[in-house]
Subunit: 356 residues, 2 copies
């Protein structure tokens, strides 16, 4: 059995793979593949509807919030958010906590005046800034709730009178919070929600439609709301895998239940990193991500050997991002506790074989 610690696209529940594969051959006993199935059919509309409803339920969204399944990846949201929320003269507050946050800031400059209210860049993004002020007139405060590359996570969502916007690509549905305090949440599906090729947007509909700008049809959230995420041909199969994954999450007991397991998994691995004489974590302890666990070796020369050892033992996807080096083990919702226990055991074996 392969243990897949990829940062994304990443592991999904086994039953999702099985049901998705079955639907590629014969969807709902129609004799048709889901890949040839029309999106404007009752059966697909039911899938879209169920996916949306499961998101609403799992996030306990109120009536003001709409759930969209869009094209383009989270990277498209970097531009689509300010395009929908900022006039050219408007200010928005951005927190600079990693590569993805920085990309969001870059795109916002084309549509308004992003103001960077805090940054951990000069410490290679190894912590989450705590003290910063948000200008009153900022149309929104943008945070990246989990920084996939550096392995930091906002443990406390900032309390602010401004509108809150969050890139939750790498920790959506992994921990309980009041999702209704956000006016806009976006996330590429390919970590906690499904396969690559679809992006989730949760938006408070009251914040839309306030700009002078002419928004292109495909970029205007209101059009996607009006058409139930079927403004054009949706990525049918990607939406289907989301629906299956969300069903699975509900069966696990939802966000509260998965959060407990996620806490267990992360604690297990961080404890081993701390205990093990060969390894150390790379970020401020209080900001450690439960999703992406970044670590290095005290002796960097041993890193190649450990990577090889892990690979020989069917552990894949733990090579760190090139801007951090070392290792990153991603522990998304679908990652079983047993795989984390296994990784820990491999770290222990390696320590025994390579005393420091």
């Amino acid at each position: 059995m392969v243990h897949n610690f990829n940062a994304g696209p990443s592991i999904l529940p086994k039953e999702v793979f099985e049901e998705a594969a079955a639907a590629v051959l014969n969807f709902n006993n129609t004799g048709l593949s889901i890949l040839e199935y029309g999106h404007r059919t009752a059966a697909f509309e039911a899938i879209m509807q169920e996916a949306r409803q499961l998101m609403r339920e799992l996030m306990a969204l109120d009536e003001q919030h709409e759930v969209l399944f869009l094209h383009g990846g989270a990277s498209t949201q970097f531009m689509q958010v300010p395009m929908n929320l900022l006039d050219l003269k408007d200010t928005a507050a951005y927190t600079d906590t990693g590569v993805w946050a920085a990309k969001a800031i870059k795109e916002a400059k084309l549509f308004g005046k992003p103001e960077v209210v805090c940054s951990s860049k000069d410490k290679n993004y190894t912590f989450i800034p705590k003290d910063f002020a948000v200008p009153n007139d900022a149309k929104y405060l943008h945070i990246t709730t989990n920084n996939t590359i550096y392995g930091t996570q906002w443990k406390k969502i900032p309390v602010t009178s401004n509108s809150l916007v969050a890139d939750m690509s790498s920790d959506i549905l992994s921990r309980s919070m009041n999702f209704n305090v956000f006016d806009l949440i976006y996330a590429g599906a390919q970590k906690n929600i499904g396969a690559a090729g679809v992006t989730i947007v949760v938006v408070n509909k009251n914040i839309l439609g306030k700009l002078k700008r002419n928004i292109p049809t495909m970029m205007d959230y209101r059009n996607h709301i009006a058409e139930g995420s079927m403004l054009n041909t949706p990525p049918v199969f990607a939406v289907y895998t989301c629906m299956l994954t969300l069903r699975w999450l509900k069966k696990q007991g939802g966000v509260n239940a998965i959060e407990k397991i996620n806490n267990q998994k992360a604690a297990l691995l961080y404890n081993e990193i701390d205990r093990n004489t060969l390894f150390k974590g790379t970020v401020a302890v209080e900001d450690r991500s439960n999703m992406n666990v970044c670590f290095v070796m005290n002796d960097a020369n041993k890193e190649k050997a450990f990577l090889d050892y892990a690979t020989q033992h069917q552990i894949i996807g733990i090579k760190g991002h090139r801007s951090v080096g070392g290792f990153r083990a991603s522990l998304y919702n679908a990652m079983p506790l047993s795989s984390v226990e296994y990784l820990v055991s491999i770290m222990q074996q390696f320590e025994q074989n390579n005393p420091s």
Copy 2:
């Protein structure tokens, strides 16, 4: 066996379904699903590379043309094309030959000055305009090579000194032509190329980078070229099904070979529509699409009965678009001749049972 005449998402080759389903369970014997497979891996890069190379080969593209696999659907290209090719004061010539063409014109207004050089709208888009002039200063001439909803097709690509841009969503790779005369071609994959969730753009790289406009990162074709369609997480599985479908097309003998079969299929069905006393075609004979065959019944009151009869006989997807009514049978590359023969036999049976 179900005969799927859907307009899109639509039938794909059976072996594509089988290989795609197998990869969802176990991709390339890795023990991993393709849905959990990282896009920045040698194996996926090879898929992207092969898909691109197959497009180049099947279209016989020259070195100036780049092939991209993008997010967003063809509808996003309605805005992305003028965003990349027009400054606000620039003119572009658009041909108004259907609903999709009209949508392209609408988006172009946000980025430049589209000029409608011909239209068949007042005849409900039942023909392709032949006589029209393109202003010399138009940055490009935009055509929709096949009008999916109305069932018309440009049999002769206009010869013009202007740059040529084409929406080929519904007939790409279905007939031979010199694809290099186009400076930009776009197509949603979900008809002739693969599953929904990825869009193909073929662009002459020399036409890019000439604008004053600041183009958002995800909208700038140059960025996607530079990153080999991996500027952000690509829709991995959708790209994979494209690659499989393109492999299949190559095995069939490529565009020339499939064109012959497509001609046969279309001739068979149009001949029956003409011969059969109950049915008639809806568009000018010389502009009849080989991809989407639109027809109605002389007695509109019989249409429901024929649709029911066809459905009982495992024929699906032939209901016409609401703006045309009647029937539309889509005969994309993967539709076997035998299914068209079968549809014809059902039309004949219905005629015998319901003499006019």
